[in-house]
């Protein structure tokens, strides 16, 4: 095995060392794994013991469904009647937003942790790892600092489950959930399991283990959006098909909760991690070339391409960092397609040191492709401000939940953990949440 194994390789190792138990679940025979108790779980348990006991609501069930990459306006195009009905019957937040960097991994981490990247160490999908000297995906369990709902609830004696369609999500959340589904079968290139399999796994997870919290990522809409060549034309043929299919599957999951009597005890929180924007092949930004042409920056900057955002890392003389940050911003701002640049120390971003020194956003209808113009060929991208708006609504059959209500407040992905935490009666973590529970109307 390599020095940094893939999630699949790690899974194999766990099986081989006996730390992982494969369970046959449901008619499909899907494989789940059971947490062996990582260090963070023990830490959370110790912390919980030191604080007054939480009054957990053990009869309740919470299901968080992430419709990866879905745009809020897509729920009103007649393709998603089940999702639209769930939204209209619950508490909806039309101003909901993804948080920087508007990518999958950091926003899923914010959902489960309730805190911003400067506290988790996970600001983007792709970062430049200064220690390893390489640009890599943040998909290792050790990349995520601090506790999440998955392990905090488990430490308090509740069962949690993760059903995440993307391998890198399965990777970064590691063994935090009590029960985990390893995405399979995954498609080549997209490295995600189709929603049909993911939803079946979620149903089997519910039937087999009945976790108090199940965290589900449905990747089809995002993955088909990324590759939809008709996206820049506005047609979005693949994407529209995926929306309709996923809607049916969400309906199937909800029907199952109803049929098995769980609905009346449940909260269903549906949201996206980011939305999606499309660009044509001529609307591509590469910062590597202008940086290479700059006397100060040449050879001294590493770029982590996150589709709609580039993270820029100064690797030269630390004493010249401030000068380099200013130069990176100045050079990037002259490149067509660049919307804005910010020093990552900008307090409102709360990105943390893993995000490097400068973040550059592209304009709507553009994408970054670094280090070369051919590095990012896919038309659908996110990470830039145009992809902030997301659907976000709370529904479910539990009588305590609001019904048929719309809020003007601005819900964010970081609000998921405090919302679920409140519903299940879990205290805020040490240091508090950065998000807020959205169960309170005012």
């Amino acid at each position: 095995m390599t020095e940094h194994p893939t999630p699949f390789e790690r899974g194999l190792t766990e099986v081989a060392t006996g730390r992982r138990t494969l369970l046959r679940a449901g008619a499909t025979g899907l494989a789940f794994s059971v947490a062996g108790g990582g260090g963070f779980v023990a830490q959370s348990a110790a912390a919980a013991a030191a604080r007054p006991r939480t009054r957990l609501r053990r009869r309740r069930r919470a299901y968080v469904l992430v419709i990866d990459g879905c745009r809020p306006d897509e729920l009103d195009q007649g393709l998603t009647p089940r999702l639209a009905a769930l939204r209209d019957g619950g508490l909806a937040f039309p101003r909901a937003a993804s948080l920087p960097v508007m990518e999958t991994i950091p926003n899923h981490v914010m959902m489960m942790s309730g805190v911003r990247p400067d506290r988790t160490g996970v600001p983007a999908n792709s970062v430049y790892d200064r220690a390893e000297g390489d640009v890599r995906t943040l998909d290792r369990p050790t990349d995520l600092r601090g506790a999440t709902l998955l392990d905090r609830l488990a430490a308090n004696g509740l069962r949690t489950g993760s059903v995440l369609s993307k391998e890198y999500l399965y990777g970064i959340f590691g063994t935090r959930a009590t029960y985990r589904w390893e995405p399979q079968p995954t498609l080549p290139v997209t490295e995600h399991a189709p929603d049909a399999f993911t939803v079946q796994a979620a149903i089997d997870m519910v039937d087999t283990f009945d976790p108090h919290l199940v965290f589900v990522n449905l990747g089809d809409i995002d993955r088909f959006g990324h590759s939809d060549l008709t996206g820049p034309l506005g047609l979005k043929a693949l994407r529209r098909t995926a929306l309709a299919d996923t809607d049916l599957l969400v309906g199937r999951f909800v029907d199952h909760l109803r049929r098995t009597g769980r609905w009346d005890r449940s909260m269903l929180l549906v949201l996206a991690d980011h939305s999606m924007d499309w660009s044509t092949p001529d609307r591509v930004v590469s910062l590597a070339r202008p940086f290479a042409a700059d006397p100060l920056l040449a050879g001294q900057v590493q770029i982590a391409d996150n589709g709609g955002a580039d993270l820029l890392y100064w690797t030269g003389d630390p004493a010249r960092r401030a000068e380099a940050v200013a130069r990176m911003q100045a050079v990037a701002s002259t490149v067509p397609g660049v919307l804005a640049t910010y020093a990552t120390t900008e307090p409102s971003l709360r990105l943390g040191p893993e995000a490097g020194d400068v973040i550059a956003y592209c304009q709507a209808g553009w994408r970054f492709s670094d280090p070369t113009l051919l590095a990012n060929p896919i038309p659908g991208n996110h990470g830039h401000p145009a992809t902030e708006p997301i659907p976000f609504f709370v529904t479910g059959g539990h009588p305590s939940l609001p019904r048929g209500t719309v809020s003007s407040r601005r819900a964010r992905t970081v609000d998921v953990a405090p919302t679920v935490g409140e519903f299940l009666g879990l205290r805020a973590p040490s240091g508090g949440y950065d998000g807020r529970s959205r169960l309170r109307r005012r």
Partner: protein
């Protein structure tokens, strides 16, 4: 009279000016221009009146004594619980107008106010403060009006709005008054003056504008609506003169003096006579910046634009194809001015309020008049200022004539992922609802930046008036052609006058259009016409079941 719309929606039985402010005995001569309030903030609101202490103190005369006027604000209409009061001096230097920024009030609260000059007491006005900035109101409801030409008829739209009990404020999108003299612009094809303007000539100097404001403020329906609700106003061109721009106007001739001086006097009169904060204050003479924001908690923020004071001159172009003049897209030309453009972008930031309502004096949606029948092109021009031709699509007096600025606004919305952009517009004497496509050529493929709702005129001539045609006859061909050529236009009514009600909730924004009958009939009926809405986050228009009640 009781008016019933096509869908059976009735309005309350109202006689003209039935809802005029409660008028104490003896207040008539002294307070003959009524009372008004405007620009509600959570803890303050502008109160306005004008006193006539002596017969000599006629509007625009520059004569009459300096006097002290008292004002009071109470939570009850009998003024048993007075919460604020004060004294203010006025005189001929400000045309005996009184404008007070009453502060120390409670948010989201109805108040009553009145003025005293000696023993004479003004009519009682009613106003309402805005909700707290951090609150989440369930609803905000606004009356929306524009283009009220007194010579063209009675202000029945104001009367109907004054009869409603459900509004929070009234938004006036410009052309509150007109500069023309009698016979120059009136009722219908022959410009009949239902009520001739005073002074009896085009307004050019301060005294003229003061007299014109005074005449409008004596209209009983306008007085009633001012006394009933706080107003939030902006100007379009006729508050100075037709088709004004930063350095001149179509209706400003070389023999009419210096344009800058004329505009400054018109602005001075506006500041004196309107319940508005200019330059952010109720004081006179400290500036004429009119673009400003009024916030209704987290639900909505209204950004009122001034699209006349800073704009470049309209493209003249070569008729009949002025829209082909490449200058319409020249980024050096502007309709907002640089400072206001930056301010507008701030207004569209997503961390402000859910609904970013833009009080927009002239239409922003692109309009292509390509296939309008040739014989109707001139009448369309006459009403709307649009300059159509074969396959060409520009009205050079609205955002179509400043496409670089429009592109900058729409691109900002797209780049920043802004949702809830809602433009409410006046100016063109017709009712429209349009989505705002990033690319009109391929729409509805592609996305929309937001939605625009356009209210019709209170009285100013529309297409059927200019044609002399019966309603819903000749205009139908024009409307059909425009809708066919502009897939983002969802509704168009070239024939009616009236007003709108904009209802904002977290779920959707709905515009109800109401129309009046004959403008020459002071008691003309008012009927509901159409209701459309845009769902939060959609930037698209859908049909509503009916008007809000």
């Amino acid at each position: 009279m009781l008016a019933t719309g096509a869908a059976g929606v009735g309005l309350s039985t109202l006689s003209p000016a039935a809802h005029a402010a409660e008028r104490p005995r003896g207040s008539g001569r002294t307070f003959q221009h009524g009372v008004a309030s405007g620009d509600p903030l959570p803890r303050s609101v502008v109160l306005w009146t004008r006193v006539t202490p002596t017969a000599a103190a006629a509007p625009g005369s520059g004569r009459g004594p300096s006097v002290v006027v008292e004002w009071e604000v109470a939570t009850d209409r009998r003024f048993r619980r007075i919460v604020r009061r004060g004294r203010v001096r006025t005189g001929p230097h400000r045309d005996h107008t009184v404008k007070v920024d009453a502060d120390g009030l409670r948010p989201d609260t109805w108040y009553h106010y009145r003025f005293r000059l000696g023993r004479r007491v003004s009519p009682v006005g009613r106003t309402r403060t805005a909700p707290p900035a951090a609150s989440t109101p369930d609803r905000v409801r606004l009356g929306v009006v524009s283009c009220a030409n007194l010579q063209a008829g009675w202000f029945s739209a104001y009367r109907a709005l004054a009869g409603r009990e459900d509004l929070d404020a009234v938004v006036h999108l410009g052309d509150y008054l007109y500069e023309y003299g009698p016979g120059e612009y009136g009722y219908g094809h022959d410009d009949v003056d239902i009520r001739p303007h005073q002074p009896p000539h085009e307004t050019l100097v301060l005294a003229d504008y003061r007299q014109r404001h005074a005449q409008y403020k004596q209209d009983p329906d306008l007085q009633a609506l001012h006394a009933r609700y706080p107003w939030i106003v902006t100007w379009d061109d006729h508050e100075v003169t037709n088709d004004q721009w930063s350095g001149g106007a179509e209706n400003h001739q070389p023999g009419e003096g210096d344009y800058a001086a004329r505009r400054a006097q018109a602005h001075r009169a506006y500041d004196e006579w309107m319940p508005v904060r200019m330059e952010g204050t109720a004081r006179l003479g400290d500036g004429d910046r009119l673009f400003r924001r009024i916030r209704f908690g987290r639900l909505a923020e209204l950004s009122m634009l001034d699209l006349r004071t800073y704009r470049s001159q309209q493209v003249a172009g070569a008729l009949p194809l002025p829209g082909l003049d490449p200058a319409v897209s020249d980024p050096a030309r502007t309709i907002t001015g640089e400072e206001q453009m930056a301010w507008l972008k701030e207004s569209l930031a997503d961390d402000r309020a859910q609904w970013k309502v833009i009080g927009n004096p002239v239409m922003i949606a692109p309009v292509d008049f390509g296939a309008v029948p040739r014989q109707l092109i001139d009448p369309v021009n006459d009403v709307t200022g649009l300059l159509p031709a074969d396959g060409v699509a520009y009205n050079v007096d609205q955002w179509d004539g400043y496409t670089a600025d429009r592109r900058e606004v729409l691109t900002h919305i797209r780049d920043r992922g802004v949702s809830g952009a809602l433009f409410i517009t006046g100016d063109i004497h017709s009712a429209w609802a349009a989505e705002l496509p990033y690319d009109a050529a391929t729409y509805p493929l592609g996305d929309s930046a937001g939605v625009e709702f356009v209210c019709s005129s209170v009285t100013s001539n529309n297409l059927k008036d200019v044609l002399g045609a019966p309603p819903r006859t000749a205009s139908l061909a024009v409307e059909a052609a425009i809708v066919a050529n502009n897939r983002h236009v969802r509704f168009l009514d070239f024939d009616n006058h009236g007003f709108c009600v904009l209802d904002l909730t977290p779920q959707r924004a709905q515009m109800d259009w109401y129309v009046i009958g004959d403008r020459a009939d002071r008691a003309t009926p008012v009927t509901w016409s159409r209701s459309l809405q845009t769902r939060a986050g959609s930037s698209r228009i859908t049909e509503a079941n009916g008007p809000v009640q």
